[in-house]
Amino acid sequence: MKPAAAESVTRRLIAPLGESSLAFFSYLGGSSLLLWQILIGFGALPWGRWVVNLALPWRWKVLRNDRKWQLVLDQMEKVGVASFPLVFLTSLFTGMVLALQTAYQLQKISAQLYIGALVALSMTRELGPVLTALVIAGRVGAAITAELGTMRVTEQIDALHTLSTDPLRYLAVPRIVALGVMLPMLTFYADLIGILGGYLVGVYKLGIGSSLYMNMTWNSLRFKDFFTGLFKAVVFAAIISTIACYEGFETEGGAEGVGRSTTLSVVISFILIIAADCFFTALFYFVFP
């Protein structure tokens, strides 16, 4: 090969590889750093005081004047309460479809009885956490990135700096706390609602006895099924909020840039959620056989 040709091969084939792996590692570094800083901010919140105040109803009015608490509470409402209808529909239909599809198979070997167990286990171990996380990444992760990205390009983040306020503490930490609390809660609801969907189909469509169906459901469920699902939800919450905040803060280039980082935020969250799910499922398979 002539030197000139070799050089052009290097430039066209090898250099982009180097550049994209560089970009990959700087992304990894940047988002991990953000997560680390957020965890520090997380630890710096007055958790002890909040727990005490929450436990004592006559101290709730103290919380009403606590700005940090109000920020977190606002986000919990936006992230969690407002997402409930969507999670409700998704998991109800998923539970119903799951029951119908397994019935289609199990009828062949006259084992419809096991529909309850199948729905319950699939919902709590897998579909509840993953579907809820995907729905929330699309609904909430995108909204967080769009909001923070818009604040970035309209200089509101700069304005926070000039007002001696750390955007991380003021914007990122409340969102991460809210997602960390609300995603497991939504997942728990999703589990129950999915089971309810399966029950509706099993009992009213397939004619399995109500108490039989419930027995099959509860007898198959172990604490670890719920626990591993909720554990996954906490990990997914960390993924969604970290990526959403990172993409938001790193936005550049006006409205177009906001659109770009919002898309990226959702895409990257989706990929990481699926990958993390695979990893943790395998891990739990060996840790809690």
Binding site: R67, E147, M151, T154, E155, Q156, D158, A159, L160, H161, T162, L163, S164, T165, D166
Partner: protein
């Protein structure tokens, strides 16, 4: 009090600042003029540490601000107020909450005292009864003035104004010019005013500095600038384009 030394900044191979030097004295109002896109906003953002330079320093009250830790920088910024060119109001908060933001974050002031201060700051910029409105409900000029009110709320020692009179009507521009002058005369506030409104520049400036091609090419009192012999500055203040007549293509 604010020393800008050899400041250089490049954005994707586009050199915006190229060794800019400027001394801003305690209590004076320094006006920075220059062409649109000439790097005035970039210069202002360096003074308050929002951007990191490629080379050079900014020294505020003897402290090199690019060496400060985030905490120290946060403490230093409490003495600063900044009006952004695009106002940069928080659009999820009301006007009142915007102006009160730093008071709530950094002072132990009670709610009534805060409301009092908010009303006072809004009145200074000629606004009344807009506390409950959202920034999106205001006109561009009103937003700018709310931004100024927010910059004033903490009673800062130094105020950075990025084009305070752009986008407001001439009468309101006069109100703002007077306000800048008052803050300077009565409260001895140090001001840095970026503008291309020469009326305003002559009115509020103790000294005027011209930023051209990344450097400060002349600093002087308004009289000195008016009588300048530097051709670039002359053309700028008289508003004559480079080639004398407009090219139409």
């Amino acid at each position: 009090m604010i020393e800008i030394i050899n400041l250089s900044k490049t954005f994707n191979s586009h050199q915006v600042l190229d060794g800019a030097n400027l001394d801003i004295r305690d209590g004076e109002t320094m006006v920075i003029i220059g062409r649109s896109g000439g790097g005035k906003t970039v210069l202002l953002k360096h003074i308050i540490g929002l951007m990191q330079p490629d080379a050079g320093q900014v020294i505020v009250e003897g402290e090199e601000i690019f060496r400060l830790t985030p905490e120290e920088l946060g403490r230093l910024r409490l003495k600063f107020g900044m009006l952004f060119q695009g106002a940069a109001l928080f659009d999820s908060l009301t006007v009142g909450e915007n102006v009160a933001f730093a008071l709530r974050e950094h002072t132990p002031m009670g709610e009534e005292e805060i409301q009092e201060r908010v009303r006072e700051c809004l009145e200074l910029v000629g606004l009344k009864g807009v506390e409950r409105q959202k920034p999106a409900e205001l006109s561009g000029g009103m937003r700018k003035r709310v931004g100024l009110a927010r910059a004033l709320a903490m009673r800062p020692r130094v105020i950075l104004y990025d084009e305070p009179t752009t986008g407001v009507d001439p009468m309101m521009a006069d109100v703002i010019n007077r306000l800048i002058k008052q803050l300077h005369d009565r409260l001895k506030v140090t001001g840095v005013v970026v503008t291309h409104d020469m009326v305003s520049a002559y009115k509020v400036g103790d000294r005027i500095a011209m930023l051209h091609e990344g450097k400060i090419i002349q600093v002087g009192t308004p009289e000195e600038i008016r009588g300048t012999s530097n051709p670039v500055v002359r053309r700028f203040i008289l508003g004559i384009s480079d080639n004398g007549e407009a090219k139409v293509s």
